[in-house]
């Protein structure tokens, strides 16, 4: 249907044009009847009008025409169709259920594939995820070395073995595991999960007077820097079987060590004991900056730090709290050949040099 020269892009009500909801009382009855008993005609017409009202059978009959029309049927009936072709998952799961139901056939045909895994998360959770094959990281003789700092792992009979899939997503495993196993997961495979935490950490580096409300009822004042910025940060860390007991071992304040589990780092947040000091007199909570936010640290304090360490450390954190990390060849102040590691955010930046 065209309108003003353009194709109509809204819902096309004309697809099914039959209208059975029409009272024929006046046409069916003989003329003399209509003349002699006008009230009866009105009465009957009122009756048919009542039938066509909501929740009466006239309305149901009209619905029958479109009851299996994905576009027109009520969500209540669409739910029944989900029961037929979508293993009973509720239409309410989807942002666009009428579109989702059309794709289940294709989805089931490719179950177990990367396509189906990605499709599952897009359809059910509106999220893009990353699929990792841990078998690619298995140590093979003559290839690589073992260790956290290295790429390769020994087969561990769990995540790091042949029959294993690792899903890196922004959603906790508990939220999607059951659905995933029903719809996608190849039975017999290890299911591993990592959570990508994306947030808006208020990395406000403020003046002593600036006030940031990170949590309700807590007034925070940062005292360790003087430039106010607000940035988006990202950190990637393992979740499944992550030893939560590791958390206390890492003080969260030093960046001279490789962070064994960035998630734990985040879980501890900014308010854990030892990270803050409370000034009761001024009703202020002061948060210590984690120096990884700052590149002002003195590299000389870390004589063991190598370029490889820094590369490894920042390899998956090219951006942290808005600071973009980069390394390039450079000449330092003494004009010696060096590697420059810089961290920048807008016009705020710093760099350290590793002389070659």
């Amino acid at each position: 249907m065209a309108h003003n020269g353009f194709d109509q892009t809204l819902r096309e009500f004309g697809r099914i044009g039959t209208n059975v909801r029409k009272s024929l009382v006046d046409e069916v009855l003989p003329e003399h009847f209509r003349i002699d008993y006008p009230n009866l005609v009105t009465f009957l017409e009122a009756y048919y009008e009542h039938l066509d009202s909501a929740d009466n059978f006239g309305g149901v009959i009209h619905e029958l025409q479109t009851v299996r029309d994905i576009e027109d049927t009520k969500l209540e009936y669409l739910n029944l169709m989900f029961g037929e072709v979508a293993l009973g998952v509720s239409q309410a799961t989807f942002t666009f259920p009428r579109e989702a139901i059309r794709n289940f056939g294709n989805f089931f045909r490719v179950k177990g594939s990367e396509y189906s895994i990605e499709g599952f998360f897009r359809a059910f959770f509106q999220e893009n995820i990353e699929i990792i094959h841990p078998k690619d990281r298995l140590l093979r003789v003559g290839i690589g070395t073992i260790g956290d700092e290295e790429r390769y792992r020994i087969q561990d009979g769990a995540l790091y073995q042949i029959f294993s899939t690792l899903i890196r997503s922004p959603i906790p495993l508990s939220d999607w595991e059951e659905l995933y196993r029903n719809f996608v997961h190849p039975s017999g495979f290890y299911l591993g999960a990592e959570v990508v935490i994306e947030g808006l950490p208020q990395v406000t580096i403020g003046t002593a007077e600036s006030v940031v409300d990170l949590r309700a009822n807590i007034t925070n004042i940062y005292q360790t820097a003087s430039l106010g910025v607000e940035a988006q940060g990202e950190v990637v860390g393992a979740v499944t079987s992550a030893p939560l007991t590791l958390a206390p071992l890492y003080d969260g304040l030093d960046s001279d060590q490789i962070n064994p589990d960035a998630l734990l780092y985040m879980q501890n947040g900014y308010v854990q004991t030892g990270y803050t000091s409370f000034n009761g007199a001024q009703n202020l909570v002061t948060f210590r900056m984690r120096d990884r936010y700052s590149v002002y640290r003195n590299i000389n304090d870390y004589p063991g730090l190598t370029i490889a360490d820094v590369e490894q450390y920042y390899s998956s954190l090219y951006e942290w709290a808005g600071f973009y990390q980069s390394m390039d060849d450079y000449a330092d102040s003494a004009n010696a050949s060096a590697i420059r590691f810089s961290s920048t955010l807008d016009d705020y930046s710093a760099a350290v040099y590793f002389r070659k």
Partner: protein
């Protein structure tokens, strides 16, 4: 169970009242007396009309969806649109070893033949059933005159199938429309059908058509057929359209369908088979000796509506592949009528973890022989998992583990509110609990929720004022008298921590060192002891239990004798959370009726009747 859509009010009085209210709200009828006889009669007629049409509309609406359809024909039709083949009645089959002894016969042949359709009789529960071969088998002289028949693969296990062979003949007419040939028999096992299409009614030239599901490629000349259940419960034989979906029989052709009419499950469990006739060799009849290799199994009625409703969507999701655990389950239940129920889980969910493996637990009907179980498992692997699963996945089978629940129900009972006696109500409650398990549990993944059962008990009779249930879970060990042994029991839930008054672990009684004893945990401790009925500790350490792991490890245990008729000992534990018992993997929750009870306490609500 199916749910239904109820979109309009289907109560006549409500319909009439609604109509009346609607008309009253119209200004034209404001002064009408709708209760007067004339108008009242008209309203009755209109309300009846509305009622009937409302019912019809609701029927149509409900039949439009697989989850809500009530008619078998509708459910079958919906399933077919999902590509699901509804299972017809299936014949029972057995494996037998067949031999003919021609020792001493001069000039005996090197090979003899057992014709297709050779019949055997088996008596099951006093009723004779006829079994028959569906292929021709050959046997060679072993040098001593003994001929043992073998399959083409060399196996001596010859399959025989129960059923009466029937034939239906059709003449293809001139109709332009696609013709459907109805086989007027609802006892057909469609998997046994042979379809021959003759050139003419009198011709001996024929073409054998193959089942559509077995066709590799299909074009206009493919001689394929399909059989589907018709709306009236009979079966329709369908051919191609002659264009792209297989050959269409020509006018004047004769279609002959031969099939087995099956007795279904009645012919299961036959373990003795007798050849109905002698095999003629050289003009002389010789006895065909029969030894049963595997009893008759697999006979089943046609698939139930609820089974179709449950499995068709899963089969659609599986897309003829075995990827997820649900795919395995649907495929097994759809194709193996010998299996009551099954559960499948990934190796990464197994204990111990086993990657690259898929675990299948089959629940067979009581009395199924081990040979039958083994045969079904072998067929599952050979016919399905080896072909349809993810490459390199291994299928492993495990048996169900029964976890018995001991439920001691106590309820307050006011006799003044009931026509039943206290004892009668106790029996009624106990029977209700038993039926509750039969209906809701006794199968895989069925969760026991105490509050649900209590709600239903409270609703049984207004005289039941309140109720509670003490829950214990029980596994059983089968020690050998006089033999020291270890037992590791794994419960599907956490066990209550040690208590200073209540034993978290206790066993049924047995004889040990000449005394009647039980295994119990030491109070306030996880250590297990053997204690006599007077409370004396006869063995201080016979293992331990791990509350958080739900494990009971009995170490170095022996007994002098069992007490009672059972040759096992019940090990009962108090669940950490008795409100919910969730069976995982191969666990099935059942009720131990011998350890369960229902006890009432009189609680009179009428103060005048209270005894002071």
């Amino acid at each position: 169970m199916a749910t239904t859509v109820k979109s309009t009010d289907l109560d006549f009085q409500n319909i009439k009242a609604g109509l009346k209210n609607y008309l009253r709200s119209k200004s034209e009828f404001a002064d009408y007396d709708f209760d007067a006889s004339g108008l009242n009669n008209i309203l009755d007629v209109l309300a009846y009309n509305t009622h009937i049409n409302g019912l019809t509309a609701n029927f149509a609406l409900n039949e439009a969806f697989l989850p809500t359809a009530q008619l078998r024909s509708s459910v079958v039709s919906h399933a077919e649109t999902l590509g699901y083949q509804v299972r017809s009645r299936t014949t029972a089959s057995a494996l037998v070893n067949l031999t003919v002894n021609l020792a001493g016969v001069i000039g005996r042949p090197a090979q003899i033949q057992l014709p297709v359709g050779w019949q055997f009789t088996s008596s099951i529960d006093g009723i004779s059933y006829t079994f028959r071969t569906l292929e021709t088998y050959f046997a060679r002289d072993n040098g001593s005159g003994l001929y043992e028949f073998k399959t083409t693969t060399g196996s001596i296990d010859i399959p025989i199938y129960e059923g009466v062979e029937k034939t239906k003949t059709f003449l293809v007419g001139e109709a332009d429309e696609r013709q459907v040939f109805v086989i007027p028999d609802n006892t057909i096992d469609t998997s046994t059908a042979d379809v021959l299409v003759y050139d003419t009614a009198s011709s001996t030239n024929y073409v054998t058509y193959t089942r559509l599901s077995e066709a590799v490629t299909i074009d206009a000349n493919s001689t394929v057929y399909s059989i589907r259940e018709a709306p009236n419960g009979f079966y329709e034989l369908n051919f191609g359209d002659g264009v792209s979906f297989g050959k269409k029989p020509d006018a004047g052709n004769k279609v002959v369908v031969t099939y087995l009419s099956s007795s279904g499950p009645d012919a299961n469990s036959g373990d003795t088979f007798t050849s109905n006739s002698n095999l003629t060799v050289g003009g002389i009849g010789y006895t065909v000796s029969t030894a049963t290799s595997n009893e008759s199994t697999g006979g089943a009625l046609r698939q139930s509506i609820e089974s179709v409703r449950q499995l068709a969507p899963i089969a659609y999701a599986s897309q003829q592949r075995l990827v997820t655990s649900a795919d395995y389950k649907a495929t097994i239940l759809s194709n193996f009528s010998q299996v009551n129920d099954c559960n499948v889980w990934s190796g990464d969910q197994n204990v111990p973890i086993d990657y690259g493996a898929v675990y299948v637990c089959l629940n067979f009907p009581a009395g199924t022989s081990q040979a039958t179980k083994d045969l079904v498992k072998a067929n599952i692997v050979t016919n399905f998992t080896d072909n349809l699963s993810v490459v390199s996945m291994t299928t492993k089978f495990t048996d169900p583990t029964d976890v018995f629940l001991e439920l001691n129900t106590q309820f307050d009972f006011d006799p003044a509110l009931s026509g039943f006696t206290l004892a009668g109500t106790e029996t009624g409650v106990f029977n209700y609990v038993t039926n509750y398990f039969n209906t809701n549990l006794n199968t895989f993944n069925a969760i026991f929720r105490r509050s649900n059962l209590l709600t239903e008990i409270d609703a049984l009779d207004q005289a039941i004022l309140s109720s509670r249930i003490d829950v214990k879970a029980q596994l059983r060990i089968e020690p050998t008298v006089g033999v020291v042994d270890n037992f590791e029991l794994s419960f599907p839930m956490k066990i209550a921590s040690p208590d200073d008054e209540i034993y978290s672990v206790s066993s049924s009684i047995f004889e040990y060192n000449g005394a009647v004893c039980q295994i119990k945990n030491k109070l306030n401790d996880t250590r297990l002891q053997i204690i006599d009925i007077d409370g004396n500790v006869l063995l201080d350490n016979v293992g331990e239990y791990k509350p958080l792991d739900g494990e009971v490890n009995i170490i170095g245990f022996t007994l002098d004798a069992f007490i009672g008729g059972n040759q096992f000992i019940k090990i009962s534990v108090v669940p950490d959370n008795p409100s919910v018992i969730r069976p995982l993997r191969n666990y099935v929750l059942r009720l131990d009726t011998s350890e369960s009870s229902a006890t009432a306490t009189i609680d009179r609500q009428t103060s005048s009747l209270q005894v002071t």
